[in-house]
């Protein structure tokens, strides 16, 4: 459906650049719809100021900023600040008696077993102040806000050098009046815009989760504000004339002018953009149900996409006792990556991870002093990764060195050769990662066998077929540029706004008209926000869902709806079906209750032709021409295996495994008996066992 917009304000984004700043590299994808060209760039991330890397990437891609219509940016500025605790000095003013909520948490410990563990609150105790003020749970006033005390608290925080402020009162979700009034007073005294009201980001009960969400928002807000302003200025200096859009953790993007207001939403934006790219690719490839598998050096991100829509969660915890409860793409991180270390336990069993060699010293093959066998080293030793890469990375380590370490540290104890030990490392690692993927899928109520595996990240395509086999997943999809998927996510991202309203009523007393009215209100608000962004969109649509439960239950089940006008009977019916699918239990004895009404308003931008990601002119006419050689690769023993260069593959190529496909940013392993074909967009689709 086309939305009429005023043409004068509208930008026809025919030339768009997506720039994603990751932990190690800053990646760029630039798409020009008129000339039908794509340019890519990769440059090391500049940690002190990510903007340098962004500018460098644009420079490497020869981007003419004056003619660029749109820059969409994914940044880890806030992610790093939270994880490394390089936060801005932030003060909290809260209800009398409750300043320690952020430090006490929900009475937990980091691990189920082990009585050690530490926790550092986002805001230290001396910067958490209390004022007389109290509401009842229904929003009624128990004690009025003491405005004089509030002003004095503001002054104390300023004297202590706070740059950002959180106002967090108990039960503000039920009645925000005190927070709003306090916000008004603060706006006159506080020297900057960095004021976060607890209810503004998340209007739900649970004081710890809401408080931490607000505290994280406030503590990264000044950083993000400074960063995007500086970046926008630098881009403007170089001739860029439009708004910079920044990726949010919900997979949508928002103007750099406004992104800092809800800065906490950017904390998970990197992984979210990768998943958005996967959803986009899958929709075009007509494979809309995907499990994404993004394996990097230290960790692996997994997400589920159903009908080309990524699963979204409001309950993400970015690390121990650090909840950010705003809707974000539900990406789960598994602590296993290329750097995971293999060792023999005291029981004589081979174990891979959870220890990781990280990036320093890293795997042995990095040549930075690593001496523990890792997954990456196993891939190299077995010929799955190109051993010649070793020479380009480092001259201090040879394949023989790695072989020696595998024989010494693993092979001896297992009574096998170095290669067999390496194969065992991969088998154990793949089993564990498959288990982790299965748990993600099962916890979302889905059977992994109904999905295809979308492999990306530098190491994802190396392991994808093995993991798919473990999971019983029939197909693997490897996109054209697995190593720059996050940047692609920026280019294809939608404009998106999510709304949640709590109703919490049994269906027996629910007024369905009120639900319809809420949907209308959510939809109207979302459309208004999207129109303000001045970005051309092709289609505006809404996704409606409700969260339901049986009365007496605490967990919620999300029930997708076909539209905004469900009847009570439909709600009951859809819920029962969803419940049975998830738990295989029918409960006719118990009544259902509707808890939340949800709507996402999504503005989709014009289609991007993904087939351009690999230059069509570079493709050869026959498969033989794409062959770069053969080498011995381990598949239950060493096998002479053909090696292809991805960019040279003819689009109609069919490859039966064993085979290796190499490209600039990854290596794809095709197991014996598997069959790989390409689709019109240049995705490689591997059908397991189809080549036999």
């Amino acid at each position: 459906m086309n939305v009429p917009q005023s043409p004068s304000k509208e930008i026809t984004a025919s030339k768009v650049a997506g720039v994603d700043v990751g932990g190690t590299f800053t990646d760029l994808v630039m798409y020009d719809a008129e000339t039908r060209t794509v340019r890519l760039a990769k440059t090391p991330t500049t940690l002190d100021n990510q903007a340098f890397g962004v500018l460098k990437a644009l420079e490497l891609a020869d981007a003419d900023l004056a003619t660029l219509d749109l820059i969409v940016h994914g940044t880890t500025t806030t992610t790093n600040a939270v994880l490394e605790r390089t936060l801005c000095k932030t003060g909290l003013i809260t209800t009398e008696g409750f300043r320690d909520v952020l430090e006490l948490g929900r009475r937990t410990r980091p691990n189920a077993y082990g009585m050690k563990g530490e926790f550092r609150p986002v805001i230290p105790r001396d910067l958490r102040l209390e004022v007389p003020q109290r509401l009842y749970a229904d929003g009624g006033v128990y004690k009025e806000l003491d405005e004089a005390a509030f002003k004095s608290a503001l002054q104390q925080l300023l004297d202590k050098g706070c740059e950002s402020l959180v106002i967090h009162f108990l039960h503000s979700y039920a009645n925000p009046a005190h927070e709003l009034r306090a916000g008004e007073i603060a706006a006159k005294i506080w020297p900057n815009e960095n004021i976060t009201l607890g209810h503004a980001l998340l209007s739900e009960s649970r004081e710890f989760e809401r408080g931490v969400t607000a505290a994280i928002n406030a503590s990264v807000q000044p950083l993000l504000r400074r960063y995007v302003e500086r970046l926008a200025d630098q881009l403007a200096d170089k001739g860029y004339r439009h708004d910079v859009l920044v990726m949010n953790g919900n997979g949508g993007m928002v103007s750099a002018r406004r992104v800092a207001i809800e800065a906490a939403k950017t904390v998970m934006s990197g992984p979210a953009s990768g998943v958005m790219a996967a959803a986009y690719t899958g929709r075009r490839a007509k494979i809309p149900n995907l499990l994404t598998y993004d394996m990097g050096g230290t960790s692996t991100d997994v997400a589920l996409i159903r009908d080309a829509e990524p699963a979204v969660s409001n309950e993400i915890e970015i690390e121990y006792a650090m909840p950010i409860h705003v809707p974000m793409v539900d990406v789960r991180t598994v602590g296993a990556g290329g750097g995971s270390i293999a060792r023999i336990t005291e029981a004589g069993l081979l174990q891979v991870g959870p220890e990781s060699a990280g990036s320093t010293p890293g795997p042995i093959c990095y040549g930075r002093g690593g001496t523990e066998p890792t997954i990456s080293d196993a891939n190299l030793l077995l010929g799955r990764m190109n051993p010649e890469k070793l020479n380009s990375v480092s001259s201090t380590v040879s394949l023989a060195d790695i072989e020696g370490i595998f024989a010494d540290k693993l092979g001896k104890a297992l009574g096998v050769s170095a290669q067999e030990a390496a194969a065992a490392v991969l088998r154990i690692a793949n089993t564990r990662m498959a288990d982790a993927v299965r748990m993600v899928s099962v916890s979302l109520g889905e059977d992994p066998r109904d999905y295809a595996l979308f492999a990306f990240g530098g190491a994802g395509p190396l392991h994808a077929t093995a993991i798919a086999r473990e999971l019983g997943v029939p197909r693997v999809l490897v996109p054209s540029r697995p190593g720059i998927t996050n940047a692609l996510g920026c280019v294809v991202a939608d404009l998106r706004h999510d709304f949640v309203n709590t109703v919490n009523k049994p269906l027996s007393v629910l007024e369905i008209d009120a639900v319809h009215a809420l949907f209308d209100q959510q939809s109207a608000e979302g459309r208004t926000l999207i129109e303000k962004e001045n970005v051309e969109i092709e289609e505006l649509r809404e996704i409606y869902s409700v969260d339901m439960q049986f009365i007496g239950q605490t967990h919620l089940l999300r029930v997708p709806l076909p539209g905004p006008r469900p009847t009570l009977e439909e709600l009951q019916d859809l819920f029962e079906k969803a419940y049975f699918n998830r738990f295989h239990v029918e409960l006719p004895e118990i009544k259902a209750s509707l808890v939340n009404v949800n709507c996402s308003v999504i503005g989709r931008r014009s289609e991007i032709d993904l087939s351009l990601l690999i230059d069509p002119a570079g493709r050869k006419s026959t498969l033989e021409d794409a062959l770069t050689g053969t080498r011995k690769v381990w598949f239950d023993g060493l096998v002479d295996t053909p090696i292809y260069w991805r960019d040279h593959l003819p689009l109609d190529a069919q490859i039966t495994g064993p085979a290796i496909i190499e490209q600039m940013d990854t290596t794809i392993v095709i197991d014996p008996g598997d069959k790989a074909v390409q689709d019109a967009d240049g995705n490689i689709i591997i059908e397991l066992g189809a080549g036999v």
């Binding site: 009475r107 082990g114 128990y142 081979l350 088998r427 288990d435 967990h555 118990i590």
Partner: protein, 562 residues
């Protein structure tokens, strides 16, 4: 050995995965918030021969780490003796009898035989904490019960599901004897469904690797877990390690109960001797044998978290049956306090005994109480009765790496405490504070973590307050020269007059009127190492953050902070 170590690792993680999926399925479908939110449940796979633990879900409540193998073992024995009806495929037993390998009555266990080719291959079993099983008080934690009949309905092993069908006759007997019965059908179905999910996944593993291979792997894994525990325990020099830990009182007779532990380490094996511990008590602070064993196992797993949970890991841990003590309670001794409180004191005794031998691994004593505070009453504005539970954490012990955690979960649990906002939505109460309990952490080179300080006012209607807590008489023990954490405190204001319960941490049915208040201070963790060895800068930092006063810094650490 014929099975290769790589296949062994793969099967090990496969069995673990089966249990993890059962845990997940149970929690997500359960109605009781104790199970759904607090994960007060556990799922596992048990040997067909002797009920020995094969594998258990990683997210199960720690106190169940060893109990289900005892209940499964007892069930197998009773079937072979003919005292319990033998199963056919599709049957699921229900049992909550504490003396048949359990904890307290609220922990209801389901057990399902898993068949291959008409033979029982293994048992799948789970435990879930039901919100009520009848008895004198809602929820089952009666601080003054003197026999198990007062604590609730006791079920011997009976087949609640027969060939896949719920037996409505048994179910109706259960429902007629418990509170809020109408929601239990949801928990019953969730608990049974989790076992079915496990059966389906386990079947796939057997189909893939073959029954004989898996059987062999299970035996081999048991052996290797034993080896691993032996290697760990071997770090402890041969010798005898002693400790004592005290339960404040049994709730009926106001005298402390002592746990007297002597651990003998010899060549990679530990023998736990509790002789000299107190006699069985009148009140509900008795422990049944299965819980006593489980408490030792969970303490050892806190010390060596890497050893997989399996019967093999327990083999090097010999526990001499503490006959004639309150740690081996017999029918009809009341036992509601065993899983929540006594188990934590047993764990504390293990920590205190081993901290000198393993100073890098063991911490000073943690708060070690679940902090159960139950408020039961009638809310006139909603025209309904209610029972509110406030559970709370306390400080953890200092340790070789760092200071203890503040407001940590109970040693035997992993459940979160409910938010104040949710409590106030549901019950006619107002919290005046929910704060760090200043000064409560035991002094030490690494100090203990801090407890919680909360105060609740009753807003409407009449109510009664009951407490089942501990460490009110003695604080959690310091280690290696560290001081004890501050003990638990309970104060009740009735009409403006402050009352301290006679048993300090335990009381039942104290009447409250609107405006009356309850204030609780939970224990701080024990300190680790001598306080005078603490870095004065850290002492000054604690004073700056208001965790200790300048006076306390001077008195406890000998540091003058200006």
């Amino acid at each position: 050995m014929t099975i290769d170590p790589i296949t062994l690792s793969v099967i090990q993680s496969g069995l673990q995965q089966v249990c993890d999926e059962m845990d997940l399925s149970f929690s997500r479908a359960a109605f009781s918030p104790v199970i759904a939110e607090a994960n007060d449940r556990s799922d596992g796979i048990y040997s067909a021969v002797d009920g020995a633990l094969i594998s258990q879900g990683a997210s199960g409540l720690p106190v169940f780490v060893g109990t289900m193998q005892y209940s499964t073992r007892t069930l197998i024995k009773m079937i072979s003796e003919g005292t319990v009806a033998a199963p056919v495929p599709g049957d699921i037993y229900i049992v909550n009898d504490p003396y048949l390998g359990g904890t307290h009555l609220m922990d209801v266990r389901f057990a399902m035989p898993f068949y291959r080719d008409g033979e029982i291959f293994c048992w799948l079993s789970n435990t879930g904490h039901w919100p009520d099983t009848g008895g004198a008080v809602p929820g089952g934690f009666s601080a003054s019960a003197t026999s198990v009949e007062q604590e609730g309905l006791r079920l011997p092993p009976v087949r609640l599901f027969k060939q896949g069908e719920l037996d409505m006759e048994i179910y109706s007997i259960i429902c007629s004897n418990i509170r809020v019965a109408e929601q239990r059908i949801g928990d019953v179905k969730a608990q049974a469904a989790a076992l079915l999910v496990g059966a389906e996944r386990l079947g796939r593993i057997l189909d893939r690797y073959g029954d004989d291979v898996v059987k062999e792997a299970i035996e081999e894994l048991r052996q290797r877990a034993a080896d691993q525990m032996r290697a760990n325990v071997g770090l402890i020099p041969n010798g005898v390690y002693r400790s004592k830990a005290y339960v404040d009182s049994d709730g009926v007779v106001n005298e402390p109960l002592v746990i007297n532990l002597a651990i003998t380490a010899k060549d990679g094996e530990l023998t736990f001797d509790f002789s000299g511990s107190s006699d069985p008590c009148m009140g509900p602070m008795n422990s049944v044998l299965a819980t006593t064993h489980s408490s030792v196992y969970l303490a050892m797993r806190h010390i060596f978290p890497d050893v997989p949970i399996s019967a093999g890991a327990f083999e090097p841990l010999k526990i001499i049956r503490p006959e004639g003590t309150f740690l081996d309670a017999q029918y009809p001794r009341p036992v509601s306090g065993c899983a929540a409180e006594v188990s934590q004191r047993i764990a504390e005794a293990v920590f205190a005994a081993l901290v000198e031998a393993l100073p890098d691994r063991v911490t000073a004593s943690p708060a070690g109480s679940s902090g159960n505070f139950a408020l039961g009453g009638y809310d006139p504005s909603r025209e309904r009765g209610y029972v509110m539970y406030q559970i709370s954490g306390g400080g953890y012990g200092g340790n070789s790496d760092h200071d203890g955690l503040s407001n940590g979960c109970s040693t035997i649990g992993i459940s979160k405490a409910p938010p104040v906002e949710i409590m106030e939505q549901q019950y006619p109460v107002l919290y005046h504070r929910y704060a760090l309990r200043e000064g409560s952490g035991g002094a030490g080179k690494q100090r203990g973590g801090f407890g919680l300080d909360y105060e609740i006012e009753l807003l409407r209607g009449q109510a009664t307050a009951s407490f089942v807590m501990d460490h009110g008489r003695f604080g959690p023990q310091g280690a290696l020269g560290g001081k004890d954490g501050k003990p638990n405190t309970v104060t009740v204001w009735q009409g403006g007059e402050a009352i301290v319960p006679e048993h300090l941490s335990k009381a039942q049915d104290i009447p409250l009127k609107p405006g009356d208040r309850v204030r609780v201070g939970t224990p701080g963790g024990g300190g680790y190492g001598k306080p005078e060895d603490r870095d004065p800068k850290l002492v000054a930092e604690d004073v700056r953050l208001g965790r200790y006063t300048a006076q306390e810094a001077s008195d406890l650490f000998g540091v003058d902070v200006v």
